[in-house]
Symmetry: C2
Subunit: 226 residues, 2 copies
């Protein structure tokens, strides 16, 4: 279920009291609203009152479902963030050891994740990339091998077997893949305006990224340490 | 002059009143201190009082040099941010039309800029990349063609002349270059911890990036729209 389906729910007059049996999706709607605010202004800068106002419910209703902001953030992590990443991880685990299939799977899979969860890139930029971000520790402390670690290990193995450009660093290749997929989506509001390129969407980005990963820029960079 | 030289200045006891002739560098030191705080917690979250405390001066002294936070932010823009970018732009303008030379010049030049100004990547992540960032408009409204626009135009020309991988988008190549240079430095605290890779420094990143831009991942990605 994507967040879009919740957002499309009809708005009603300001809700008060406990939810009736006719509002099974209200908790999901409140979580969607909270995540949208978190992504826009940051978790630290978002008040429960602002979320309640945006969702057109009373603060008491928000409190009924989520308690305080710490528990609301935990719900975001447990019910939205980690499931989104787990789906991508499961997909990549099935992709096996072929680096070409892994790279294509990551680029395509991450594109699908951000298409389904448009809050993820801005939230990641603010709460993981920035120092003091509220989700950085979650990303670092995930149970089990994370997607980056799994990819780096498989890239290292593929490289040792001569199936990956020997001049790359397998760990930095993971950083490069994030820089070529998640970063461009998070920064799209900037570069779309800078280039007047509102026409450049997800498909163009994916094909460009595949082309770069296939053959580089198609130039002979002088390179070498200076 | 790099910010490092200011940071290395010996700390003295808490300063009060107007500066004497023996403190010509105090204004620069205060600006360095402010920028370090801005980079760490964000411009919005930094108080003048916190900067004064960190610089071991009175708030009155900070006010004497910079007035309010808006003028302090303007000093950061005019005296540090735009000069750092202008130096890179001047270097790239001299690089001419050869995309290989342009790409190498950008990767190498940006590496030098962030080595000289370690506050730049975290400040860029928080204040340009994140929505509502205090420096986003500055980046979008720079007078004259910006570095990204200049690069995109030259890449488009090179591609039209058959000197650049025809499957790339010239504008997205600029985004890719930022994602392969500035983004990895801004995210280094995350991936260095994730991979236990404190050994991977600026030289390793640059050589990896050159290798990727030269020949891609060295794999045949199935690719194509699905």
């Amino acid at each position: 279920m994507t967040s879009t389906s919740h957002r499309a729910a009809p708005r009603r007059s300001r809700r008060a009291g406990r939810p009736g049996a006719d509002e099974p999706d209200l908790r999901q709607l409140l979580l969607d609203t909270a995540i949208a605010q978190f992504a826009r202004v940051g978790i630290g800068a978002t008040s429960l009152r602002a979320i309640a106002t945006a969702a057109d419910v009373t603060p008491a209703m928000l409190h009924y479902y989520f308690g305080d902001k710490a528990r609301l953030t935990q719900a975001l992590i447990d019910e939205r963030l980690l499931p989104a990443l787990a789906a991508l991880r499961a997909q990549l685990e099935l992709a096996g050891d072929d680096p070409a299939v892994l790279i294509e799977g990551f680029v395509r899979g991450l594109g699908e994740v951000v298409a389904q969860h448009p809050w993820l890139p801005p939230l990641w930029a603010r709460e993981v990339l920035c120092e003091g971000g509220a989700l950085r520790e979650v990303m670092l402390q995930q149970r089990g091998p994370s997607i980056p670690q799994m990819l780096a290990q498989r890239f290292a193995k593929a490289q040792a077997e001569g199936r990956l450009n020997a001049a790359l660093d397998p760990r930095l290749l993971v950083v490069s893949l994030v820089g070529l997929t998640l970063f461009p989506v998070a920064s799209a509001p900037v570069w779309q305006q800078l280039f007047g390129a509102q026409d450049l969407g997800a498909d163009a980005l994916r094909e460009h990224t595949f082309a770069l990963l296939r053959g580089g820029a198609g130039v002979t960079i002088p390179g070498g340490a200076r």
